[in-house]
C-alpha cells in the first residue's frame, strides 16, 4: 500500500507541475505524432448501415497503438520518482512495445512479462521489444496469457518496489492505476471531440471502442461521459462461443469479484476461481475489466456488447479492403459490432470509433488462419 500511496502523491504533484505536463505534451507531439487524424470511413460505413463513421486514428501513433500515450506518461512519472527500472505486462505486445519504446527514449531499464501463448501469436512484437532493449520474460503459469503476465509483474513489483515502477498497461489494478491510465488516455477523446466538432459541428451520436482492460475505451469515452446524448458502447471479445473459457465478455458471463487488487466484473467459476478466457485477439484476452467500466455499466451510462472472433476477422478484412486501413484485431471488434448491428443505428447518425491500433502485428496470424482454412 505504501508504494501505491507514494505513486498517488507523485502523480498528483506531477500533474500540478506545468513543466511535467509540457514535457509530456511535447513528446506526444514530436515523438508520438499527436494529434492523430480523424478519418471518415465512407465505404465501410455504406456497407454497415445509414450513418457517418469517423475513425480516431490511434493506429497512426508511433508504435502503432494508443498504448504509447500511457506508457510515455508513466515513464516520465517513474523518472520523476527516481525509479530507473521499469516493468510491464503485455498481452498483444502493444503495451510492451510502447513501454520498451518509452524506456529506450528516456534511458530506463525495461523488463516485460508476456504469456507464452501470447509470445507465440505475437512474435513480431516480441522481436520489436528486444530490439528496443527490453528484456522479455515468458510466463508459463496458468493460461499463459495477459492475466498471468500481470501476476508475474505484480510479483516482481512487490519484490523490487523500492527501485522499480510498474507501468500497468490498462485501466486495471489497484488505485491509483485506473485513474492514472485513464487520465493519460483521455487525450484520445478530447482530440476526437474537438476534431469532430470542427468537421461536423456536432458531437457523435454513438461512440464505440473495443474493451479488454478498457484503456482505449475509457480514453475515448471519458470526455463524453457528461454528454448524455451520446451513446457509449464498449465491445468485448465474444470469442468462439458463450461457454466458460470460450470468450472474454465479462458482462456476458462474469460476476462481481476481486482480481489484481481491484473490484470489478470478473469471469470466474462458482468457487471464485478466476476463469480461463479465449479471444482471437491477445489484447482483449483478460478475465476482468477496468473497475470504472463496471461502475458506468451499473449506472447505465456505458453499454456493453460483444463481437465474436469470426466477426472481428470479418471486420479486419472489410476495413482493409474498403478503406485501405488494416486495423488491429482488438480494434476490429468495435468495427465488427457495426457490421452486425449497424442497421439498428438511426439513419443519419454520426458514429465515432476508436481505431486503437494497427493490424500489422496480426497479419501473420490471419494469414496462418487462411492457410489452415485452405488446407481443410
Amino acid at each position: 500500500m505504501a508504494p501505491l500511496d507514494e505513486l498517488e502523491s507523485s502523480y498528483r504533484s506531477a500533474m500540478r507541475d506545468r513543466a511535467f505536463r509540457r514535457e509530456l505534451d511535447d513528446l506526444l507531439r514530436d515523438f508520438v505524432g499527436r494529434a492523430t487524424p480523424l478519418t471518415e470511413a465512407k465505404r465501410f460505413a455504406a456497407e454497415c448501415g445509414d450513418f457517418r463513421l469517423f475513425l480516431k486514428r490511434e493506429d497512426l501513433n508511433h508504435t502503432g497503438a494508443h498504448k504509447i500515450n500511457n506508457a510515455l506518461g508513466q515513464a516520465l512519472l517513474a523518472r520523476r520518482m527516481g525509479k530507473q527500472r521499469i516493468i510491464a505486462e503485455t498481452g498483444a505486445g502493444q503495451h510492451g512495445v510502447a513501454t520498451a519504446t518509452a524506456c529506450a527514449l528516456l534511458g530506463l531499464e525495461c523488463r516485460v512479462y508476456m504469456g507464452e501463448v501470447d509470445m507465440a501469436r505475437q512474435e513480431l512484437n516480441v522481436f520489436r521489444m528486444r530490439l528496443l532493449g527490453a528484456e522479455v520474460v515468458p510466463v508459463a503459469s496458468g493460461s499463459r496469457t495477459l492475466k498471468d503476465a500481470i501476476n508475474e509483474a505484480i510479483r516482481d513489483w512487490v519484490t523490487n518496489v523500492r527501485t522499480t515502477h510498474y507501468i500497468i498497461g490498462s485501466v486495471l489494478g489497484p488505485h491509483p492505476y485506473p485513474k492514472i491510465v485513464r487520465d493519460f488516455q483521455s487525450v484520445i477523446g478530447r482530440e476526437a471531440v474537438a476534431q469532430l466538432k470542427k468537421r461536423t459541428g456536432k458531437l457523435p451520436d454513438v461512440a464505440l471502442a473495443c474493451v479488454g482492460g478498457g484503456s482505449n475505451a475509457i480514453g475515448l469515452f471519458f470526455p463524453l461521459l457528461k454528454e448524455k446524448s451520446v451513446r457509449l458502447i464498449g465491445v468485448e471479445a465474444g470469442g468462439r462461443g458463450t461457454g466458460p473459457g470460450d470468450h472474454a465478455a465479462r458482462f456476458l458471463g462474469g460476476a462481481p469479484g476481486v482480481l489484481h487488487g481491484t473490484r470489478s466484473m470478473v469471469l470466474q467459476d462458482e468457487h471464485g476461481q478466476i476463469g480461463e478466457t479465449h479471444s482471437i485477439s491477445a489484447g482483449l484476452d483478460y478475465p476482468s475489466i477496468g473497475p470504472e467500466h463496471a461502475y458506468w455499466a451499473g449506472e447505465g451510462r456505458i453499454e456493453f456488447s460483444s463481437c465474436s472472433d469470426e466477426a472481428a476477422v470479418g471486420a479486419f478484412r472489410k476495413l482493409s479492403a474498403t478503406e485501405g486501413i488494416i486495423p488491429a484485431l482488438e480494434s476490429a471488434h468495435a468495427l465488427g459490432y457495426l457490421i452486425e448491428r449497424g442497421k439498428e443505428i438511426a439513419p443519419g447518425s454520426i458514429v465515432l470509433v476508436n481505431l486503437s491500433g494497427r493490424g500489422d502485428k496480426d497479419v501473420p496470424q490471419v494469414a496462418e488462419m487462411d492457410r489452415k482454412a485452405a488446407e481443410r
Binding site: M1, A2, G142, R155, N160, V258, H271, G272, Q273, I274
Partner: protein, 261 residues
C-alpha cells in the same frame, strides 16, 4: 479468536518464540491435509495457517503456486478448507488461521463463510489481497461471528499504516520479512532483525514474521526478536516431494528441524 490470544500470552510467559505452520489445503488431498495438520502440531507447531488454494496467487512464490494449482486440479473448494478445519478442531485446540485470497470467499459469501468458519473452529482469517483500508465491512461481519482478522505489514509500511494494520488485526500482526512473495530463501533479509526491533515497539499486538523462513538458523536468528515465525513453503515443498501417504511425516520433520527438536 480467543485461542490466538491465549497462545501469545503463553508464549510470552514461557519466553518462547512460537512457530506457525502453513499448509496448502487439499495438497495432496483433503484427508491428507488433516493428517498433516495434526502431525505439524505434534512436531511442535503452535498454530496452523490453512491456505485456501486460488487460481491467481499473486503473493505466492513458485512452491505455493504449484501446490495451489495441484489442489485446484483435485477440486478443492472453500467448503473443503472448512471441512479440514472442522476435522482438525475435533481433535485439537491449536489456533487455526485461514490464509486466503479474497475472491473465493466473496463468492462463497462473506456472511456464510463467517458463520461456517467460526462453527468449524477457525479463529481468524488473513487475506493476502485485502488491505485494512478496504476491510471494514468484512471485519464487522467476521467479528459478529466471533472470527478475527489478521493483516500483513511489509518492510515498506509507514508508521501510519503500521498503526492501522495493528488496530485492524486480532491476536497478532503478520510481518512480511522482506519485500517479495512467499518462498524459502537461503538467507534472511540483512536488516530484518533491526527493523523488527523498531516495528515491535510500535505495535500493541504480538508480531509473527513470515516469508522466506525455512532453516533452523533463521529461527535462531529471530528467536526473541519476534513472537512467532511462520514457516510455509519449506513445509509445502516437503509435502510435495514424495508419496502422499508419508507427506505428514515429511511436513513434521521440517518443523522439528527448524525447532531443533
Amino acid at each position: 479468536m480467543k485461542r490466538i490470544k491465549v497462545l501469545f500470552r503463553r508464549l510470552a510467559k514461557e519466553r518462547r518464540t512460537g512457530l506457525i505452520a502453513y499448509l496448502t489445503c487439499g495438497d495432496p488431498g483433503v484427508a491428507e491435509s488433516v493428517e498433516i495438520a495434526l502431525a505439524l502440531e505434534q512436531a511442535g507447531a503452535d498454530a496452523l495457517e490453512l491456505g485456501a488454494p486460488f487460481s491467481d496467487p499473486i503473493a505466492d512464490g513458485p512452491v505455493i503456486q504449484a501446490a495451489s494449482q495441484r489442489s485446484l486440479e483435485r477440486g478443492t473448494t472453500i467448503a473443503d478448507v472448512l471441512e479440514i478445519a472442522r476435522s482438525v478442531r475435533a481433535q485439537s485446540t491449536i489456533p487455526l488461521i485461514v490464509f486466503s485470497y479474497l475472491n473465493p470467499i466473496l463468492r462463497f459469501g462473506v456472511e456464510r463463510f463467517a458463520g461456517e468458519a467460526a462453527a468449524a473452529g477457525v479463529d481468524a482469517v488473513l487475506f493476502t489481497d485485502l488491505p485494512p483500508e478496504a476491510a471494514k465491512e468484512i471485519r464487522g461481519t467476521f467479528h459478529a461471528a466471533g472470527l478475527g482478522t489478521i493483516f500483513l505489514a511489509a518492510p515498506t509500511s509507514t508508521d501510519e499504516r503500521l498503526a492501522r494494520i495493528d488496530r485492524a488485526s486480532d491476536g497478532f500482526v503478520y510481518y512480511v520479512s522482506t519485500t517479495g512473495v512467499t518462498g524459502a530463501r537461503r538467507e534472511l533479509d540483512a536488516e530484518l532483525v533491526e527493523r523488527l526491533q523498531a516495528v515491535r515497539g510500535k505495535l500493541r499486538n504480538p508480531v509473527a514474521v513470515g516469508f522466506g523462513i525455512s532453516e533452523r538458523d533463521h529461527y535462531l536468528a529471530l528467536e526473541g526478536k519476534c513472537d512467532a515465525v511462520v514457516v510455509g513453503s519449506a513445509i509445502v515443498r516437503a509435502i510435495a516431494e514424495g508419496e502422499a501417504s508419508s507427506a505428514a511425516g515429511r511436513a513434521a520433520e521440517v518443523v522439528r528441524r527448524i525447532l531443533g527438536n
